[in-house]
Amino acid sequence: MKLLEKALKLADTALVRYGSLGASAALMLLGAYLALVWSPEAAGETAVYRIVYFHVPTAIMAYLGFFVTFAGSFLFLWKKEMLFDRVAKTGAELGVLFCGLMLVTGMIWGKQRWGAWWIWEPRLTTALILLIIYAGYLILRSTIDNQMTRARYAAVFGIVGFLDVPVVHFAIKMWGSIMHPVVIKSLAEPGMPPEMLNTLRVCLLAFGALFATLFLLRLRVENLAAEIAALRSNHEG
């Protein structure tokens, strides 16, 4: 708790904010150049394969966001600190954002490769269900006015929802293999040339930096809002 608070305070300077913003922008530009121009053609693939450099990082960031929600929820119930509730909320918002981006990039790729915007493919379907679960989490938060109630309910839902993630994935994989043949081939071919792997690494770094930047900014907004609310209730009380 103390450690997190200290780290956040250290990070809460204009230098860190603009620095991380600049760093993620630079990395993003570099990543886009590498992905769209520098990276070689893939054997047997059209140019649309390059979307993988954006699709994979968004997927990882989505799961990272959901994990942050789980960790924040758990820590909130344990330590009863509102800061963790705000961390959990921020994680869910970013998770939903990146999960949406993952679905959109996946669909664009799928339109080219499969000839359809949507195929009930296990990984896509899992992402869709997760998006619905975490959108539900945010809706749940928005309907509760009382701060403490909201934090507790959201934490419970955040924990149960995250435990559902692997179960959903497993179940849908099983269901998919029954309902129709598996159509997708592995995206991360082990025999990837080093240029591709490096491009993917840079893109991962760029999206990681973007995630961190957005996380810090969003959490700052939440912290300030909580501070204002506390001041206001002090003033009125």
């Binding site: 119930l77 679960i133 809706i139 749940l140 309907t143 109630t149 507790r152 149960v160 959903v168 179940a171």
Partner: protein, 227 residues
Amino acid sequence: MNEILRTAHAILLKDMKTEFRSREFLGHTFMFALLVIVIFNFAFKINPQNTPELASGILWIAFLFAGTLGLGRSFLIEKENDCIQGLGLSPVDRTAIFIAKFLGNLFFLVIIQIMTIPVFIVLYNLNVMEHFTLQTAVFLLGDIGFMTLGTLIAAMSVNLKAREILLPVLLLPLLVPLLIFAASATAALLTGGEPDTYMGRLKLLAAYDVIFFVVSALVFEYIMDEL
């Protein structure tokens, strides 16, 4: 442990008594489940060829929807006259309240199923209970998982402004794996699937039940304290 079970028993008995004095809600929910089954007939153009394939989906959808209706009520009746405060103030383990509400909801759903399945068998001319023991096991294990998470989310949603819509919106996505396991097990039993298939599904259902029952019972107190 004994203490918890005794408390749970008392709360369950109270709920049963109030429910069976009116009996109204049970009838309404049964009508609803029946309606879902009838409507599916028109939506899908059921014929003897496709019945075995569609039957498990129709049944599970009917039970999920009817069960969700019942869940909404289990805490709402406590909300009327602020009974929930009395329950919350009583010096009993929160887990006991969870177990009692869970058992009450489970009992309710099982009764709905006992009423609905015979009608389904007649209307669709398909004996879904052909493998009686196994199919009963599928239904029971499915019901337990459903009502575990259902009781938790229902307790949560009773306090919310938009509770009628939020209960299904929050609950159904969490139940996707359960629906996949249960419906495919029922379907495997109906279409003469491999024993490996439905036994595997039964094990998965049991695992799902255990995981979420333990977690729900543990986190329930955080919900209860806010009711």
